[in-house]
């Protein structure tokens, strides 16, 4: 790939982010910053019970409060056929409860008032009469005959949602029968929540004069959301404009459509005034898209020398009250079948059953390409358990089983074609950086002294960039994505995308792709996303798909522009197109480099001196359908010390070697890795949305749902190898989620490694100090 100058700032340059200037001056424009004339405020009334019959709602007192404009209930919505809405995954969800409530904090009524304080007051005055019902919390009891059936609306009177399986069951069974060594791991990937720092919200603005509805929305997928509002609400799609302004972090939380959005839209349609609804943090944690909640069993079969022969996985997925998973329709368990990992073996079988419980609906992909995090965690934990069983070093076991570089594209036993990889190279670099052998020696010495130190390794493989239209769609819409580039007469450009940044730096990185392909300096390229009236249609940003799909679209659109630019250059230089050569920024005549035209010259000519037979203008659009997904990978090594007195785990060192192919902006990639590792740390040690036996949510505010501060967060040591994707136009792969996918296993492996000589084989996350301390007490290490 040709190297551009730093002034042009194409691929590989760590140019400073264009979006930063407004953020550091407090001039960002997030949804809650949107203030429209005549705007009013909505507040949801939520259920205190996890499962209860709704016997009546009295809104009289609330309506009587001065400043209150409307109180909407499920009964009101039912009249407009809006009491329920479809989820993103073949289910439906109550917008406002009718009949009964199915989880604590479920939406029951929506109050609209002149200001947010009055709306909150009025919500307190809504009187709801509940009759409590037996609560189902444990997913393992979901299909027990004695358990209450939660979903009376479904024809099937069962809490079972789906069974899904993939792989060769009988071949896998035979491999297990013949295997010399078998191990079994039961691991729960706990329910957690992405908790972006900005909660979800919207301003719905229905203009009665024009008949248009504008929705300012915390949306990772504004185009898809516009279509869903049109389909569900019966509003002509041309009369809906979704604007996703600056987004304060998403991590999957802002992919679904939530009841609050629908209520705000209904209220605005009813009142003819803009309605703002922004949830509180507690509402965010208690009711919007949770992630994970996978109760997994993995078995590995291997030869005595450690060669893996088969993997068998059985998983119970707790989806809460409604299956509101945000994932491609052909994949009820997302891309969980990436669970065979970085290893080469012939047999695998994976099955997943989804069930309903009295919990908030989901689950979404929390910084994750649809259940890839669960899969990577499971295989990387299971391999460590096998290493323990074989009494071999977990690094050696991984090396023995890695898919060799020459085997790519590699057909996995569960049906994926891994595009490219060199797993050993990434691992070797990580081992060298961390000083692995020395650490093992130190560990031995420490053990002799009774000190607890552990080293955890995770060599993960991801599957990102959904996805090829033949297999991937959400709600029927194929998972292509788009870019539209317009070059202005003065040689500056605007690039509009179907994706939507939530902090990933798209305004900078897409501009760098244009710079790479056209030689227009990145500083001269404006990137705009999130306005469905202006941007080309796309499925949005999640599952690390922006660079693999829209990034590719940007490159292809730029190349279309280059093709036209070549015709104009030939016209200007009075030669044939065949005589021209390109270098970033200009066409020149072969053998006569002084005879050249810059892209800026050509852009001007595209509007002022147009060759005969050519349309004016210099622009292109591309809707890119990726031929395959991309498969980023890496090796993470974590070193921990455990305080025996408190059970506290201290991460002493963390080395992360990532391979995401060709890099657009190394500074931004590093930043993504830092952030994802910190979220992985949080998941491994802190974050959990738990429930008590009555279905009361524990972890429903930042009091109980713990996030790491700068003090708990260690220094991250990052590096990279580069194995380009063979099918991506830029050789790039997705990266934003790798650290969150790959790191939980590294943390847990390190803690288990520190305790393995005591007979510890597994500890479920989050590994809070009390959990470690309890184990130390049980093992007689502390009294």
């Amino acid at each position: 790939m040709p190297q551009t100058t730093p002034e042009v700032g194409g691929m590989g340059h760590s140019i400073k982010r264009k979006e930063d200037l407004r953020f550091i001056q407090g001039k960002g424009n997030y949804v809650d910053d949107v203030h429209l004339p005549d705007m009013v405020y909505g507040q949801l009334v939520r259920s205190p019970y996890a499962h209860a019959r709704l016997k009546g709602i009295n809104t009289e007192k609330a309506r009587a409060l001065p400043g209150v404009l409307a109180v909407i209930t499920g009964t009101d919505l039912a009249k407009a056929n809006l009491a329920w809405m479809p989820t993103l995954y073949f289910d439906k969800q109550m917008v406002l409860a009718t009949g009964k409530v199915l989880f604590q904090s479920q939406e029951v009524a929506f109050v609209v008032a002149e200001d947010r304080y009055t709306a909150a007051d009025a919500a307190e005055l809504v009187e709801v009469d509940y009759e409590e019902l037996p609560v189902l919390v444990d997913p393992h009891k979901a299909t027990d005959p004695g358990s209450p059936i939660l979903r009376e609306d479904r024809e099937e009177k069962s809490n079972h949602i789906f069974h899904w399986e993939v792989g060769d069951k009988s071949a896998t069974q035979r491999a297990f029968q013949d295997a010399a060594v078998k191990v079994n791991l039961q691991a729960v990937f706990q329910r957690c929540h992405p908790a972006p720092l900005e909660t979800c919200g919207c301003v719905a603005d229905f203009n009665r004069a024009t008949g248009r509805l504008t929705i300012y929305l915390t949306s990772q997928a504004p185009h898809a959301h516009r279509t869903l509002f049109a389909l569900v609400g019966g509003i002509a799609e041309n009369n809906i404009r979704v604007i996703s302004p600056d987004i304060g972090g998403g991590f999957g939380n802002k992919v679904p459509i939530y009841p609050g959005y629908v209520c705000a839209v209904v209220a605005s349609l009813t009142l003819g005034r803009p309605v703002k609804w922004v949830e509180t943090r507690s509402e965010n944690l208690q009711s919007t898209g949770f992630a994970r909640d996978y109760h997994m069993t993995a078995e590995l079969a291997a030869d005595r020398d450690g060669k893996i022969q088969a993997l068998r996985v059985k998983t119970l997925a707790d989806h809460g009250a409604f299956n509101a998973a945000a994932q491609p329709t052909k994949f009820p368990a997302g891309l969980f079948s990436i669970c065979t990992g970085a290893y080469d073996y012939p047999n695998a079988f994976c099955e997943v059953d989804g069930v309903y419980t009295n919990k908030a609906p989901g689950g979404i992909a929390y910084r994750c390409s649809f259940r890839v995090t669960e899969a990577a965690y499971l295989i990387e934990r299971a391999v460590d358990v096998l290493a323990l069983e074989l009494k071999t070093d977990p690094v050696e076991l991984r090396k023995k089983n890695f898919i060799r570089p020459e085997k790519f594209p590699y057909q996995s036993p569960l049906g994926w074609s891994f595009d490219s990889g060199n797993y050993q190279a990434a691992m070797d670099l990580a081992l060298e950086k961390v000083g692995y052998e020395q650490l093992r020696k130190e560990q031995e010495e420490k053990r002799r002294k009774g000190e607890l130190m552990g080293i955890g390794v995770s060599s993960f493989v991801e599957i990102v960039g959904a996805g090829p239209a033949h297999s991937f769609d959400i709600a029927g819409i194929k998972m292509f994505d788009s870019a539209e580039i317009r070059v202005h007469p003065t040689g500056k450009a605007i690039c509009r995308m179907g994706t939507k940044s939530q902090g990933q730096g798209h305004e900078t990185t897409y501009a760098q792709i244009v710079a790479q392909e056209l030689g227009i300096p990145a500083a001269d390229v404006t990137v705009e996303e999130g306005d469905t009236d202006t941007a080309p249609y796309g499925l949005g940003t999640y599952a690390s798909r922006s660079t693999p799909v829209s990034g590719a679209a940007t490159a292809v659109a730029a190349r279309k522009i280059r093709d036209k630019a070549k015709k104009i250059a030939a016209h200007l230089l009075e030669c044939s197109e065949e005589d021209l050569e390109w270098e970033p920024g200009k066409f020149f005549v072969k053998g006569a480099p002084s005879k050249s035209k810059t892209i800026q010259d050509i852009a001007f000519a595209a509007y002022t001196n147009i060759p005969e037979g050519l349309e004016a203008g210099l622009e292109a659009v591309d809707y890119y359908d990726p031929p395959n997904l991309t498969f980023p990978f890496g090796t993470y090594i974590c070193v921990v010390d455990i305080d025996k007195g408190t059970g506290e785990v201290k991460v002493r060192r963390f080395v992360a070697v990532d391979d995401c192919g060709n890099v657009i902006n190394p500074m931004i990639v590093d930043g993504q890795i830092h952030g994802g590792l910190t979220e992985g740390l949080a998941i491994a040690f802190m974050q959990q949305i738990g429930y008590d036996e009555n279905g009361n949510v524990q972890g429903g505010s930042f009091m109980d749902y713990l996030l790491p501060t700068a003090v708990e967060t260690p220094h991250w040591d990052t590096d990279k190898t580069c194995t380009p994707s063979p099918h991506h136009p830029l050789g790039a792969k997705g990266v934003g989620e790798s650290p969150n996918v790959g790191s939980p296993a590294a943390f847990v492996n390190a803690v288990v490694d520190a305790l393995s000589h005591l007979g510890v084989r597994h500890i479920d996350m989050p590994i809070a100090p009390w959990k470690v301390w309890t184990i130390l007490k049980e093992k007689g290490v502390v009294s």
Partner: protein, 162 residues
């Protein structure tokens, strides 16, 4: 509704006053009455620090105070960090060192860092980590925020900037 109270503050060097309900949170006063939306709300339990402003030289989480409690006080928000049309070294540092991603925590981080550097001109990495420990960031993992504050400390020492 309780009787409204007159609240007067000097914010970013400018005298402002308004009649508000006594229960109005300072953060809503700043955002919705004064129209300074750089200060954000990220939680409802005073944990996240997105609403951090400087009140009479000290950081406060403006969601934990009522507007009338700030009556007569001097406030500095992110909008007041620039001096003479120039970015404050902290603002520069955050941009140079990639100390922000989604930008939502950034104003609060800047204000906490600002007060830290007023008190401690040469903070160690540990000082900085503790100094911003009242502010949550979900994107950066803090590492580049630490570097940004170090950048600013060095720049401020060179340039004699406050």
């Amino acid at each position: 509704m309780a009787k409204k109270q007159l609240v007067g503050v000097k914010v970013n060097g400018r005298e402002r006053q308004a009649e508000v309900e006594p229960r109005l949170l300072l953060v809503h006063f700043i955002r919705e009455v004064l129209g300074l939306t750089g200060t954000h709300v990220g939680c409802d339990t005073s944990h996240c620090g997105a609403c951090t402003v400087v009140l009479d030289g000290k950081t406060v989480k403006s969601c934990t105070m009522f507007a009338p409690q700030a009556d007569g006080c001097e406030l500095l928000t992110v909008e007041g960090l620039m001096q003479d049309g120039q970015l404050h070294p902290l603002q520069e540092g955050f941009r140079e060192e990639h100390g922000l991603q989604c930008g939502f925590c950034t104003p609060g981080m800047l204000m906490s860092s600002y007060v830290l550097l007023q008190k401690n001109k040469k903070p160690s990495e540990e000082d900085i980590r503790w100094g911003i420990s009242g502010n949550l960031c979900r994107c950066t993992g803090y590492q580049n925020i630490v570097k940004a504050v170090q950048f600013a400390a060095a720049r401020m020492e060179q340039g004699g900037v406050k």
